[in-house]
């Protein structure tokens, strides 16, 4: 196997392949940077160009593009509070306040570095799990997926903000929204308001762009402020602190490792999505942080965790797609269609017979991620000044760009309406303290929970599925994860009391 590993690496460095890797990285980065345009868009756009290419080269181009979309997205999230993709939302929450304090370069560098490391680890995971992927996929059935989604809720329970009840309302509103669409079992349209558009459910991209990007732009317009608060403009050389960001990421190496691990698991399970990976890792970073009070105001740990998360899921996603042809996301579905087209038909057999190819795919992901980080870091030094552009111009342009971003993927009137509607909703939710994070998590998890619950009930004709060993194991972890924050708070309070009584 070692020679397959080596030949996989070597094949990436052929001149024309490497050239395409570079182009793919540049394209993916740019598309990620534009708010609203994400991996699936980039791939769909490139596919027609691949018709006339050598299949091997086309794979490199597509994979490289896809691997760095979220690195590019973190850039606009941090500088402009306009997340390039839904998975960059936490980066905007933590990075943007840092930009406002003039520390944009540091934030970008941290995001870039953790993205690169996360992505690299995912490539290694892809390579390493090949022998066991079939076993994993055959053991994880709908009951386990259901329990995993329950577990996922616990990870993000820490994101509720100051008002648990309102966060709960938000979660359930998100779950309710996720039921809009066709009933998975009976194929009856639910809450479709009489339109075909809603048969597919509310689309994620316009929802996220509206709720997180457009609403932020509206806030800026209302407040009339620029991005970098006036007082910082003068003396600080924006972008100067880039290497500090890199260093800090390495200082938090264990966090990066843990988040990449969590993300890899999420990647392997089809349907969970990059947004969920990011939020779970962000939530994890919050729960394990020694400075939780910084979160929301510019915590570098939050950025590191979140960005390691969104790039860290790539390898796992690709593995599942290649091993069984089960695409975990719309980008993977496009890649899958492409693979079949060039004769790579997913199956464990195919993996075993084509090890060098699969390894070279992993290498493409790793190298593209590193290159993407390099783009961020070098551009960071020079582009951070963008955020100091005058407020009226910047805010207006961004407003327009985020609206287009929300609508561009499918070019539908319905998407435009969705973007504006959730722009309004997002603004009001922020104003009255209803957690948008909870809402989105409810929305994304709702679909997965429902689908797997219904499948489990049908397969086992009842709740018998809960007695499966793996399911029980996951349930135990979920209970622990939910209970932990309360336990921790109780223990901390007890410690404080104990401490004061010991003080002399």
């Amino acid at each position: 196997m070692f020679d397959a590993w080596l030949s996989g690496l070597a094949s990436v460095f052929y001149l024309d392949t490497f050239y395409l890797l570079l182009i793919g990285t540049a394209i993916g980065y740019m598309i990620g940077f534009i708010p609203g345009l994400a991996g699936a868009f980039a791939l769909a756009m490139l596919i027609p160009f691949t018709f006339s290419m050598e299949p091997g080269n086309a794979v490199v181009l597509l994979l490289a593009t896809h691997a760095v979309v979220m690195t590019g997205g973190s850039y606009s999230a941090i500088l402009f509070n306009a997340p390039g993709t839904g998975a960059n939302i936490p980066a905007s929450w933590e990075g943007y306040p840092l930009t406002q304090k003039g520390q944009g370069g540091r934030a970008i560098a941290a995001a870039a570095t953790s993205s690169a490391i996360g992505g690299a680890i995912s490539g290694i995971v892809l390579m390493g799990l090949i022998p066991v992927v079939r076993m994993i996929l055959l053991s994880f059935t709908p009951p386990e997926f259901f329990m995993l989604s329950i577990l996922a809720y616990s990870f993000v329970a820490g994101l509720v903000g100051k008002h648990p009840f309102r966060a709960l309302v938000a979660v359930f509103a998100g779950i309710l929204l996720s039921t809009v669409g066709i009933d998975p079992v009976l194929a009856l349209p639910r809450f479709s308001l009489g339109t075909f558009y809603l048969w597919e459910g509310v689309k994620l991209v316009p929802l996220v762009m509206g709720m997180f990007a457009v609403s932020e732009m509206i806030k800026l317009a209302v407040s009339g402020q620029g991005i970098v608060a006036g007082s910082v403009k003068g003396g600080v050389k924006i972008g100067h602190d880039v290497f500090k960001g890199v260093k800090e990421t390495f200082q938090h190496w264990f966090l990066v490792l843990r988040c990449s691990g969590i993300a890899s698991i999420i990647g392997i399970i089809p349907g969970l999505g990059a947004e969920l990976a990011t939020f779970m890792c962000y939530g994890h970073a919050l729960q394990t942080s020694k400075h939780p009070e910084e979160f929301g105001k510019g915590s570098i740990e939050g950025i590191i965790g979140a960005e390691a998360g969104n790039n860290g899921k790539e390898g796992g996603s690709l593995l599942t797609t290649l091993a069984f042809g089960v695409p975990g996301s719309s980008s993977m579905a496009i890649l899958l269609g492409f693979f079949i087209t060039i004769g790579i038909v997913p199956s464990p057999e195919m993996l075993k017979q084509n090890l060098p190819l699969v390894f070279s795919m992993a290498w493409v992901i790793i190298i593209a991620n590193i290159l993407g980080a390099a783009i961020s870091i070098f551009a960071g030094r020079y582009m951070a000044w963008l955020s100091a552009v005058r407020a009226p111009l910047l805010v207006s342009i961004l407003l327009v760009v985020t609206v287009i971003g929300g609508a561009a993927t499918h070019n539908n009137l319905g998407d435009i309406v969705t973007t504006f509607f959730f722009g309004f909703v997002g603004y009001q939710m922020d104003k009255y303290g209803y957690s948008k994070a909870a809402f989105i998590v409810g929305f994304v998890l709702g679909k997965i929970t429902e689908k797997n619950l219904l499948l489990s009930l049908q397969i086992y004709q009842g709740v018998g599925f809960l007695t499966r060993p793996l399911t029980l194991g996951l349930a135990a972890i979920a209970i622990f994860a939910f209970a932990w924050p309360f336990f921790k708070r109780y223990r901390d309070k007890a410690k404080m009391r104990g401490g004061t009584s010991n003080e002399i």
């Binding site: 509103a173 039921t179 639910r190 009339g224 342009i397 609508a407 009137l413 504006f420 009255y432």
Partner: protein
């Protein structure tokens, strides 16, 4: 800052949302109704609790409400502009609508000079056009009259 009446209306809105979802789910055939119903009912209960928990002090409410430090009038004006953007984009399309919006928004809301306004609007429109129509080879939404 109108936090109290604002908060109340949002809470009522949540109750209304879940309540109507309950009613609509009930109208679905028996097998299809119970998942949306469970979610809507739970949401309704939580929304009711949120509504009826007495808001302790004005400070608590102020903390809950992250309203920006601006007058309600300013908010309303911005929302009107957003409405204009929506109407423009829906009627004449994403590119033309955005460019047109930029021109009038910059001039009449931010009070920029005409030169800056026209420049930004034309350049942004051109960039978007080049990016989507030429580089991506895709047509952005062209407005309700052209589709």
């Amino acid at each position: 800052m109108r936090s109290e009446p604002g908060t109340r209306s949002i809470q009522l809105g949540a109750i209304l949302l879940f309540g109507s979802a309950c009613i609509v789910s009930w109208s679905y055939p028996p097998k299809a109704r119970w998942i949306p119903l469970i979610i809507a009912t739970t949401g309704l209960l939580i929304a009711l609790v949120d509504f009826f928990i007495p808001v302790q002090k004005k400070e608590d409410e102020k903390e809950a409400c992250n309203a920006l430090d601006v007058s309600p009038r300013r908010e309303l004006v911005v929302w009107l502009w957003i409405g204009i953007l929506f109407l423009l984009v829906v009627s004449v399309g994403l590119i033309v609508g955005s460019a047109a919006f930029l021109a009038i928004f910059l001039k009449f809301f931010w009070k920029e000079k005409w030169t800056a306004t026209i420049l930004v609007s034309v350049v942004t429109g051109a960039c978007i056009y080049l990016l989507f129509n030429k580089a991506f080879q895709m047509q952005l939404y062209r407005g309700i009259f052209f589709e």
